[in-house]
Symmetry: C2
């Protein structure tokens, strides 16, 4: 049975589930940063996925990327499956701007996160719900 | 017309072309590190690709990942499209081990690369040629 890694749960805000992936907002207001986690047990690598799941991961990733591009302002989207610290497969989507705090370096391991306010969390969760009304169920 | 970004050309060793992507070996012997560059003009983001190209990117990425897993020894594959420094779309595949020099941090920006010897470059190019004999053309 799929269970979200405790470290991912701790660092993020649950925004619901697509048909394959849990959608998480990284609780770090320095960047627009969403994570897709395929809800499959013991999955660590993209190339180990079933083909049909991998196809669905890219569908959900591309939809997320287009929405992020519409909703936020950034110069470059970083899309990455690293997993050195949390091995459960998860795909980062981070909107980067040339004056963000880590630019042009990677965001991972770059100083402590700055959490969102409760109000801002609600605003973003609501925006996600509206954008993906037909794709998302609340977790 | 597609032209490989000069920075990518400088930092890597050309291993030939798949039907969509140029296959590059990062000239850094600290990690097994290959890069796929879709040979399309002015392409910066995965979600901006034509659907048929994106499908092909994942075919080539998955084949590369499986081969890397057979040929090298590592604990986790990092797959990432960042592009903060080189905006031309390119997809990193980095085999990470828990005692590599940057673990568990990201490899990007982690101290200067250590180039391969000429002999090791030849060995790896030959291995790639054999592994992908039916998928790859040189030059």
């Amino acid at each position: 049975m799929f269970e979200l890694d405790p470290r991912l749960r701790q660092d993020t805000i649950d925004c619901g589930s697509f048909s394959l992936c849990r959608l998480l907002l990284m609780n770090d207001c320095r960047y627009p940063w969403f994570i897709l986690v395929p809800q499959r047990e013991n999955l660590r690598e993209i190339h180990h996925m079933e083909e049909v799941d991998r196809q669905q991961l890219w569908v959900e990733s591309v939809q997320l990327a287009f929405w992020m591009e519409r909703f936020f302002t950034f110069d470059k989207l970083n899309v990455a499956a690293l997993g050195n610290i949390v091995s459960q497969l998860h795909l980062h989507h981070v909107g980067r701007t040339i004056n963000d705090t880590a630019w042009p370096g990677p965001v991972w391991g770059h100083q402590p996160a700055i959490p969102y306010s409760e109000q801002e969390v609600k605003r973003l969760q609501q925006a996600v719900l509206v954008a993906f009304a037909d794709m998302l169920r609340r977790g």
